[in-house]
């Protein structure tokens, strides 16, 4: 927790912040192994005619959630069928209740007038969301809508969730999950992630779940989703990379950490701490892709999860930037990802990337919003989004996925060196009014990496606390 967050959460600090109108960051709840997915009551609503009441109820039943639903026959029947002892709910009943999460199935909204269902459900309840609570709207991808009116209405959901994210406050987050028709059975991993404290620093995001994912087995171990899997994490020796390695290891994966030879000692320490292996090489080396591929094939008979985290900054304003700075950033942050990915997926069924593999790239808010002094970096990170777009269809064909996280202001050694005024602006200029932690990025990557995220392909999810930049 940064100093300011500590300060405004003291009794005196709270009063001062309120009177002066300062941002009021709430210490975010983060995942603790073994803790329930949701700690508190979950209110589930929906527009009439939706197709997700049943799937949502089944997910909530599987996590043992304490649920309430409006007294609408379809919602009640769905809860009953899922074995959920859901309390009845009406707007009047909500007065003295506090909710850990509000979940709304908006797939029934087929025209703009029906958007009023959002107002009717969230209006009386937004102020009843607990600190670090969750609001999740599930819709139909606009491009999958059957009629123009439905497409309009479904597209409109995005404005609603983004605006609600700015209103909800107290560490709570708001998301929009577009579920493709046919993907109703694929929502478990994503719904769990966004309900849970794992998504603490992710807000106002739009996620698409497609129908190609493959089923989650009924005996799936949600505490160790990556058990038996091998994960490659580049740039694993420090900061966010080390957090990614640790989180994937926690989820059961054998992690192969990769970093430049100069950081080999740090890398080995990280690998040893999580029972993983260390692979020291320079990813911009022309031989690197083949070396990585053959190492993974030889040592582990392939790889299941690849996290392209390695990245560098060489900041200068464009007019003062020499070619070396430009080229180094593009080479590490962009070109090497393309080359390594190509090496891992070539060879069809004998490819190094196993069937059902997961590729996760690390983009940046800078690549979305742009940042003065970072033309090179922003170019590379926007290019990473291009990689996700370009590779997603090919990976989908082999049951694999590729997605990216785009971190915002994350508290690392790198950001600690930023001048205080800029650092404070970076922290506070977001709906959560604070910086994120490396683990927030790592948890989001772990969600992408999970075998339960088969339907999640081609997404870019920002881990930025709904930063005002590029929003």
């Amino acid at each position: 927790m940064d100093r300011y967050t500590q300060l405004v959460n003291t009794p005196v600090g709270k009063r001062v912040a309120k009177q002066v109108g300062l941002p009021k960051p709430v210490p975010l709840k983060r995942h603790v192994p073994g803790a329930p997915v949701v700690d508190g009551k979950v209110l589930v609503g929906g527009a009439p005619g939706g197709r997700l009441a049943g799937p949502i109820a089944r997910v909530l039943a599987s996590i043992g959630a304490d649920v309430a639903t409006p007294l609408r026959p379809d919602l009640r029947a769905a809860a009953a069928e899922a074995g959920l002892d859901a309390s009845p709910w009406t707007p009047k009943a909500s007065v003295d209740h506090r909710y850990a999460a509000l979940v709304f199935d908006a797939t029934g909204i087929a025209e703009s007038a029906q958007l009023e269902e959002l107002h009717a459900f969230f209006g009386p309840t937004i102020r009843q969301v607990k600190a670090c609570g969750r609001a999740i709207v599930l819709g139909t991808p606009p491009e999958s809508a059957r009629k123009p009116g439905e497409r309009v209405a479904q597209r409109a959901l995005e404005g609603f969730t983004r605006a609600m994210g700015k209103e909800i406050g107290r560490g709570a987050t708001v998301q929009l999950i577009y579920v493709e028709p046919g993907a109703e059975g694929e929502i478990a991993g994503t719904l769990r992630f966004f309900l849970s404290p794992r998504s603490a620093f992710v807000s106002a995001q739009v996620v698409r779940i497609g129908a190609e994912g493959g089923k989650v087995p009924s005996d799936f171990d949600w505490e160790r989703p990556l058990a038996g899997k091998v994960a490659l994490v580049t740039g694993a020796s420090r900061g966010i990379g080390a957090a990614i390695a640790a989180t994937l290891a926690r989820d059961g994966a054998h992690v192969v950490g990769l970093d430049v030879p100069a950081l080999e000692d740090d890398l080995k320490a990280v690998a040893a701490g999580i029972g993983g292996s260390a692979l020291a090489l320079d990813i911009t080396d022309p031989e690197a892709p083949r070396a990585i591929a053959s190492y993974l094939k030889k040592e582990h008979r392939g790889v299941d999860v690849v996290v392209h985290n390695a990245g560098i900054t060489r900041d200068r304003t464009l007019g003062r930037m020499d070619a070396d700075r430009w080229n180094a950033v593009i080479a590490v942050n962009l070109s090497s990802i393309e080359r390594i990915t190509d090496a891992l997926i070539e060879g069809g069924r004998r490819a190094v990337l196993n069937e059902g593999g997961r590729v996760v790239c690390v983009s940046s808010i800078s690549g979305i919003a742009g940042n003065a002094g970072q033309t090179n970096y922003a170019t590379s990170k926007a290019g990473v989004i291009g990689i996700v777009d370009a590779y997603a269809p090919a990976l989908a064909e082999r049951g694999a996925t590729i997605n990216a996280v785009a971190p915002g202001f994350i508290e690392t050694q790198m950001t600690a060196k930023v001048p205080i005024a800029i650092r404070e602006a970076g922290r506070r200029m977001s709906s959560l009014s604070q910086g994120g932690l490396p683990v927030d990025v790592a948890e989001t990557i772990a969600w992408f990496a999970s075998p339960a995220s088969g339907g999640v392909n081609g997404n870019v999810v920002r881990v930025c606390g709904q930063s005002l930049l590029g929003a």
Binding site: T69, A79, D85, S87, T90, K92, V95
Partner: protein, 425 residues
């Protein structure tokens, strides 16, 4: 060995008109009123000097001196002094639970005939001395010497003169019954309009029952009252709509009209074996078929205080192989209009019925035209322990009057309890 079992039948009943609190019966004690109700029954069924098997009754608000209230009433009545009696107390379920006890003894052949009922006064309430003063007096009493006693008595302060007043709240939650029910009503989305409609129908139905003489052999005038004082035959939805909510805050839906008022009164019912009735030449009105009592955890659990009947009825139906729709008349005690409506809503809800009742299907809706056809507590008033006796006698008569049929009684009670029964004619 399976004990021999036979049918217990309801022969009739008697009650005094129910009065509003601190009104017509403000000087009447529980003993006065229950004795009056008993004597009316003696008169109606020619029981003067008879030794009955049992008289079972009780009161919710009771003076400590009334520890043997029912027996005292028997001694004060025209029944034979050899008639045994005992008190029970199960809050608003008292009267019906008393009927269950009497019916069970009859069914087992232990008695031939008995009286079940109850009485309550909120006017002649049992004020107790201040708890601190009581403690001081008891301490003084324990002292051996006069000096010691004086020393204790000197602890008495003026504030100790304030009496302990009986409180209308659940000891474990500190919430009044109305506040509890306001939460349940809000949860089940019970509207103000639906509650007012139910209240109005109660008044109109009870008024009609008086008009057509239905109450003539159920009610005996007392202390100048001939009809229930709370009855408003000229009530209307417009008038009811004007009232301010009394529970659930300013946004609440429960008013003084769709909640029962504090009231005073007594009611008893006469139950017997078929043989006894036949020997006396009294035509039975209905058979007391079966009964069930349930309780819910409203303290730590998530269930509403007054939702126990919603659990008791399905268990009773299951045991008797009946569905909720297999009844010709329903008597659901109107503690609050919203209690009746919440119960009915729960029985139609798939989640409640599958998850909390463990059924495959909801119990479903009932024909509202069969509900409380002769009015219920919202119109008549609700002297807590007297309500069971009122309903048992009135439902038995209504079933008999229509030439047969099956009736369901459901009564909610404080402490998260519910007592339900089936009558058949």
């Amino acid at each position: 060995m399976t004990p021999a079992s036979r049918r217990a039948v309801v022969l009739g009943g008697n009650r005094i008109p129910f009065a509003r609190s601190d009104s017509a019966y403000k000087k009447a004690s529980n003993q006065d009123m229950l004795t009056a109700a008993l004597d009316g029954l003696v008169e109606r069924f020619d029981l003067a000097g008879e030794r009955l098997g049992d008289v079972v009754a009780g009161a919710v608000l009771k003076h400590s001196r009334d520890f043997n209230l029912t027996r005292e009433c028997v001694l004060g009545s025209r029944l034979a002094a050899e008639t045994p009696a005992y008190d029970i107390q199960q809050a608003c379920g008292t009267g019906l639970e008393a009927a269950i006890l009497v019916a069970n003894k009859i069914a087992l052949g232990q008695i031939e005939v008995g009286v079940a009922g109850g009485v309550d006064t909120t006017s002649d309430a049992p004020l107790a001395i201040n708890e601190d003063l009581r403690s001081i007096l008891l301490d003084a009493n324990r002292e051996k010497s006069t000096q010691g006693r004086l020393k204790q008595l000197l602890r008495v302060r003026p504030q100790h003169l304030a009496p302990a007043i009986p409180r209308n709240e659940e000891p474990r939650t500190g919430l009044s019954m109305g506040e509890h029910q306001a939460r349940t009503a809000a949860e089940w989305g019970i509207t103000r309009e639906a509650q007012d409609e139910l209240a109005l129908r109660s008044h109109l139905n009870l008024a009609a029952a008086y008009e057509r003489g239905f109450q003539d052999d159920l009610v005996t005038p007392y202390l100048g009252l001939e009809r229930d004082q709370n009855l408003r035959p000229d009530s209307s939805l417009e008038k009811l709509a004007k009232l301010k909510p009394v529970f659930g805050g300013p946004e609440g839906t429960m008013t003084a009209a769709n909640s029962t008022p504090l009231s005073d009164g007594a009611a008893v019912a006469l139950l017997a074996s078929e043989e006894w009735a036949k020997a006396r030449g009294i035509a039975p009105l209905a058979t007391f078929v079966d009964a069930e009592t349930a309780a819910v955890d409203y303290v730590n659990g998530r269930e509403g205080l007054l939702m126990a009947p919603a659990y008791a009825v399905p268990r009773l139906l299951e045991r008797n192989g009946l569905s909720l729709q297999d009844f010709d008349l329903y008597e659901i005690h109107e503690a609050f209009a919203s209690q009746v409506l919440s119960t009915l809503a729960a029985w139609e809800d798939p989640v409640f019925c599958t998850q909390r009742l463990g059924r495959k299907q909801p119990l479903g809706a009932i024909d509202r035209g069969k509900l409380n056809v002769n009015g219920s507590s919202l119109a008549a008033g609700h002297p807590f322990a007297a309500t069971g006796g009122r309903i048992v006698a009135a439902l038995a008569k209504a079933l008999h009057e229509r030439g047969g049929g099956r009736g369901l009684i459901s009564i909610c009670a404080a402490g998260g309890q519910g007592v339900v029964a089936i009558l058949e004619a």
